[in-house]
C-alpha cells in the first residue's frame, strides 16, 4: 500500500489533519515509523510531518526548560544547558539514529525503546499536546496512560521541565546485553534532590519492567526523607522490584529482570552506573 506524505507548516494545521484522518500518523525522525513501513507493518496510510519552527526550539536559559518535540538526541547532546539529559540522549542508538530520533518520537516508542521518556518521567516533565485546535499540558504519567488509547494521532508539541538543582540530583542508567549500543533490557532514571541532607521529592522510574516507563513507588517511599547513604540504598534495593511484573521477552525473563533490578538500582543510587552501562 502506498503511503501519502503530507507536509504542514503550522502546528495547528498538522494537529487538525491528524484529527481528521484516523489512519494518519505524525512523522518525527522516522526511526520507528519508516522502519514499520519497511517491515510491512504500517498501520497508517498517511504520514504527517510539520515544519513549524517551534517544534525545533530549545529554551533552556533559566530553571524552567522547554524542548520542542522535533529536537533530536544529537541536538540535546550539543546543548550544554541540557547536560543533565546527556546520558539519556547518548544511550539512544548510534550517532545516525541520534541525528534522526526526536524527543517527541521517544515519548511514543514502545518497549524496549523510550529511554529518554523514562528520564522525562523521572524529571516530572509536562508534555504539551496539541489535539485538533486545542492545546493542553499533561504529566508524562497521564500521557503514557493515554498513549495506547488513540494517542498515535496526538501531536506532541514539546515538553517542559525544571532543571535539577545540581548534576548529581539526576541519575540515569541503561542496562543492555550488547555493548556499546544494544537495546535496553532495563533502564532506570531517578531524581534525587536533597533538602537538609535528606532526600525530598524522590522520583524513581523504570523502563522495560512494565509495558511503559513507570515509577517505582515502593523505592520512592523507601528513599523519601532518608539520607542517600548505605542504609538508605539498602532499604531501596530491598523493595526494588516491588509492584512490578516485568515482561519476559527475547532480552530477558521476568524472573531475571526482578532478580537484577536491586543490583542495578544500587549502582544507580551510588552513582556507579558505569558498571551497569
Amino acid at each position: 500500500m502506498a503511503i501519502a506524505l503530507e507536509t504542514c507548516h503550522a502546528l495547528r494545521e498538522a494537529a487538525a489533519l491528524l484529527g481528521r484522518a484516523p489512519a494518519a500518523r505524525f512523522l518525527g525522525g522516522g526511526t520507528l515509523l519508516v522502519r514499520a513501513l519497511n517491515e510491512g507493518e504500517a498501520d497508517f496510510s498517511t504520514l504527517v510531518r510539520c515544519l513549524d519552527p517551534s517544534l525545533a526550539e530549545i529554551r533552556a536559559s533559566g530553571p524552567r526548560i522547554r524542548i520542542g518535540a522535533a529536537v533530536t538526541m544529537a541536538r540535546i547532546l550539543a546543548t550544554r544547558e541540557l547536560d543533565f539529559l546527556h546520558s539519556a540522549a547518548r544511550s539512544v542508538g548510534g550517532p545516525a539514529v541520534r541525528a534522526q530520533a526526536t524527543l517527541g518520537g521517544n515519548l511514543f516508542a514502545p518497549p524496549p525503546y523510550g529511554d529518554l521518556c523514562a528520564a522525562l518521567l523521572a524529571l516530572d516533565a509536562r508534555v504539551s499536546v496539541q489535539s485538533g485546535y486545542s492545546a493542553r499540558d499533561v504529566s508524562v504519567e497521564d500521557f503514557l496512560r493515554e498513549r495506547g488509547n488513540g494517542a498515535g494521532r496526538t501531536l506532541v508539541a514539546g515538553v517542559e521541565l525544571t532543571r535539577p538543582r545540581d548534576s548529581r540530583a539526576f541519575r540515569f542508567l541503561k542496562v543492555s546485553k550488547v555493548r556499546p549500543k544494544g537495546v535496553s533490557m532495563l533502564t532506570m532514571a531517578a531524581r534525587l534532590e536533597e533538602s537538609g541532607g535528606r532526600l525530598s521529592g524522590v522520583r524513581v522510574v523504570y523502563a522495560n519492567m512494565a509495558p511503559a516507563p513507570a515509577r517505582a513507588a515502593a523505592v520512592e517511599r523507601a528513599l523519601e526523607g532518608r539520607r542517600l547513604d548505605r542504609t538508605g540504598i539498602e532499604a531501596a534495593a530491598a523493595v526494588a522490584s516491588e509492584g512490578f511484573s516485568p515482561p519476559t521477552d527475547s532480552l530477558a525473563s521476568s524472573w531475571y529482570r526482578r532478580a537484577v533490578a536491586p543490583v542495578h538500582l544500587s549502582r544507580l543510587l551510588t552513582g556507579d552506573s558505569k558498571r551497569s552501562a
Binding site: 502506498a2 506524505l5 522502519r35 548510534g94
Partner: protein, 168 residues
C-alpha cells in the same frame, strides 16, 4: 500515488528527482540512481551499512524518507576519493585491514567521516561511539578503530596515514 520533486545535492552535484512520499533515501540512491556504495542491510535502522551524510550528519538511508531531504546536501562513500587519490580514511582502512567482506565498509567510512569532520582529534572512546551504530561481523572492530585513529592523525598531518602491521 502522489510524487513530489526533490531538489537536493548528491556528492556535490545538484539534482532534482521525482520521489514518492514513502520512498526511502536508500531506495532512491541505491536502486534508482545506482549509487551502490549505499548498501541495503537490515532496513530497520540497526546495522548502519546504509549510513550516508545529510548536511554533514550521519543518517541511516533505510529509515530516512527521501522527501524529507529537500534542499539537503547528501554525501555517500563515492564522494570520498579526491583528486589526490584515496581519502585518508580509505587509505587507513586498507592499511589497517579494516575491511574484510566489505559489506559494512562504506557505512563505516561515512560514520567515521561524520566524526572526523567535526572532531579531527577524536579519542578512542569517541571513535567507538561514532561507529557504535554500525555492525561489522568480520573484523572485531579493533582494526576499524585503529584505522579511524590513524586517518585522523594522517589528516591532521596532511599526509597519507602510516601503514600498520599487516595481519597477513
Amino acid at each position: 500515488m502522489s510524487h513530489l520533486t526533490l531538489r537536493y545535492r548528491l556528492n556535490g552535484n545538484e539534482r532534482a528527482d521525482l520521489v514518492a512520499g514513502d520512498e526511502t533515501l536508500l531506495s532512491l540512491l541505491r536502486y534508482r540512481l545506482d549509487t551502490t556504495s549505499v548498501r541495503q542491510g537490515c532496513r530497520q535502522g540497526t546495522c548502519g551499512t546504509c549510513t550516508v551524510l545529510v548536511d554533514g550528519e550521519p543518517r541511516l538511508a533505510c529509515i530516512t524518507l527521501a522527501a524529507t531531504c529537500e534542499g539537503c546536501a547528501i554525501e555517500t562513500a563515492d564522494s570520498l576519493p579526491g583528486s589526490g587519490g584515496l581519502h585518508p580514511l580509505q587509505q587507513a582502512f586498507m592499511d589497517h585491514f579494516a575491511a574484510q567482506c566489505g559489506f559494512c565498509t562504506t557505512g563505516m567510512l561515512m560514520a567515521a567521516k561524520a566524526l572526523l569532520d567535526v572532531n579531527p582529534s577524536p579519542s578512542r572512546e569517541e571513535v567507538i561511539d561514532a561507529i557504535g551504530g554500525n555492525i561489522c561481523r568480520c573484523t572485531g572492530y579493533e582494526p576499524i578503530v585503529e584505522a579511524v585513529l590513524a586517518a585522523a592523525t594522517a589528516a591532521r598531518a596532511g599526509a597519507t596515514p602510516p601503514a600498520a602491521h599487516r595481519h597477513c
